[in-house]
Subunit: 368 residues, 2 copies
């Protein structure tokens, strides 16, 4: 995997990751395909929308269908018929947020499956084996996601565990797979710095910020992003895990982050919340009942080119599967277009004016 910075605009970076299965233009948005599919979408549709990289979840695929099955049928790309780059997370966050009866030990984490209550024990080595079986292009180290709030002692012990596990993951690294470290350290600047330095000594192909957007106030999250990001190597990709609110994305890109993933566009779509050039729309609103116009008159996606708000509202209220399809298609298009325009702005040295222009739109709710 190679990373090249094409242009910087203050701290914001325009770059390219050359992965074995294709180029990823950064700042990049990675749509989430938790169960080996982006919910409601085919891989062909994702490609047509301009997706360059998908994220898939190690925790979910380990539990179902099981990584051995995916290995047997030729890996995740073949299983789900996506031939572009895939980043797999390590399961650290899901063990923290989804699993039950979690017990953190030096060796790994014992937990019960959120699906069937079965008992499991994930170790750094097993997590690397799972990601190897999946055959993703970029793997993540197994980390402990430090909860919020956590006192300094807890956060320190947690980051030391993450460092130790990161070292073990590096030793168990798979061939032909890039490996990223994950910076923890809770909400403490010095611990974030310590975590970053320890990981950099181990030497990874890229670095992520973890343990953010876990309940802390936005200002605290922004402080951690702005403080930690410049500590990471200039010449490697930087990934802010699980964050996709576009206002947060603007803040993070301004700090020098290159990669993002989030379920926001897909989950919101299924709940009827749609992103438009005039702000967010809740498609179920009465005012759209007879509205013959497109969701967003400035949008060129399949949904907006073909269907009326009246139809989209009807599908949503009827709980039709096509509602989730059309809404997801639109929101993914919106996110990828947003990132494309943001990259263009950085390329033109105009990131700040892009940010100023987009902020009121992103803050707004459309009122018909």
């Amino acid at each position: 995997m190679q990373f090249k910075i094409i242009k910087t605009d203050n701290y914001a970076r325009l770059g390219k990751i050359a992965a074995s299965r294709g180029v990823i233009n950064t700042p990049a948005f990675m749509p989430v395909g938790t169960n080996a599919t982006v919910k409601a979408m085919t891989p062909g549709e994702m490609k047509e929308l301009g997706t360059e990289v998908l994220l898939s979840n190690t925790y979910h695929l380990y539990l179902r269908p099981g990584h051995d099955i995916i290995r047997d049928v030729g890996g995740l790309h073949r299983f789900m018929q996506w031939d572009g780059p895939i980043l797999t997370d390590s399961g650290g966050f899901q063990v923290f947020s989804l699993a039950k009866l979690r017990k953190i030990k030096d060796d790994g984490v014992e937990f019960r499956s959120h699906i069937d209550g079965s008992l499991h024990f994930l170790t750094p080595e097993l997590v690397m084996d799972i990601q190897g079986a999946l055959g993703s292009d970029i793997a993540m180290v197994f980390d402990e996601c430090t909860p919020y709030p956590a006192d300094k002692e807890y956060a320190l012990n947690s980051l030391m565990l993450t460092t130790a596990w990161a070292r073990r993951c590096k030793e168990a690294k798979n061939d032909n797979q890039a490996l990223f470290g994950i910076v923890q350290g809770g909400m403490f600047r010095d611990l974030r710095k310590q975590s970053a330095q320890e990981l950099m000594k181990i030497d990874f192909d890229g670095y992520a910020l973890g343990g953010l957007s876990v309940g802390e106030p936005k200002e605290l999250m922004y402080e951690m992003i702005n403080y930690t990001t410049p500590l990471l190597p200039q010449d490697m990709p930087r990934y802010l895990m699980g964050i996709g609110d576009l206002l947060d994305v603007l803040e993070a890109v301004a700090a020098g982050i290159d990669m993002f993933d989030c379920v926001m566009p897909t989950r919101n779509a299924r709940n009827g919340t749609l992103f438009t050039s005039q702000g967010r729309i809740s498609i179920k609103r009465e005012e759209f009942k007879k509205d013959p116009g497109p969701l967003d008159p400035y949008c060129t996606c399949y949904t907006c080119m073909n269907y009326s708000r009246a139809y989209l509202r009807h599908l949503y209220l009827s709980r039709e599967i096509l509602s989730m399809r059309l809404n997801t298609n639109h929101n993914i298009h919106f996110f990828l277009e947003f990132f494309r325009k943001m990259r263009e702005a950085i390329g033109n040295g105009a990131f700040n004016s892009f940010r100023e222009e987009q902020t009121p739109v992103l803050e707004g709710n459309f009122n018909g």
Copy 2:
């Protein structure tokens, strides 16, 4: 609307309906788009699969979003972006099977909505107005679906009501819309004959058999189909409502039926039951867990050309929306291909051997 018989093979007929929005080759299968969408599918996908006509439900669209809204946005074709022919049923069957607290009066039927319990009164004139608002290519008369079992007195009164309503529907007929009568009469040959004769006197563009597959034994249903179908005009389309089990289709085509609709391919798809050249498959079965092969090695649909049984099983067990999409795509393809091959067989005077060849496949359940 014009109907031409190209070839007959005993009672089986190969024909063409030239509707204003396109040609329908008969025997035809009409996939069901209840809420102005075939569940999980886009109209473009339905067209690519070779769909020539869709059925949509008057009862559902009247209740939600309301026919006035669809009229206001330019009719059902525009609303759902399907530019081929649409047949709308009359709501008679849904009032019978879905609505609550149904009261049948001379003038029409009072009932409560299955969605929100609201009170409604459907009359023949209102049903024609609704179908006019939808702008379907073929409308159906409002009928009373005679329940099973019904004694002869009930069945006679019911058919007389259906005849009276059929006459009122004919008087309220919309321009540029074909109108089909619906033969009732319960399980009584003489009443079926009486119903057919009364409707033929009113003179419709086609004739349907209603009130079948409502709980009666198969032999009785087959007896009614075989007895009634030849009583209908030779030179007009004959439609067997709501029946799509392919064994029943073979029986009915042998009797001279031209049109069918059924939720079976779409509903079964969502439940994980898939039609293949080797019989039905339940995709959730353990034996498909690691199966790298396609659902049906002889099938050329998108699902079979791209995905493994292992993946389809995983999607189904994970309740992914893509599961419903891929399964529906496959089942619709299977049904449309079945009808295409059946038409080819009739054209070649080989319907009987087609029927003999298909029967064991349709009866079979695939065992891996």
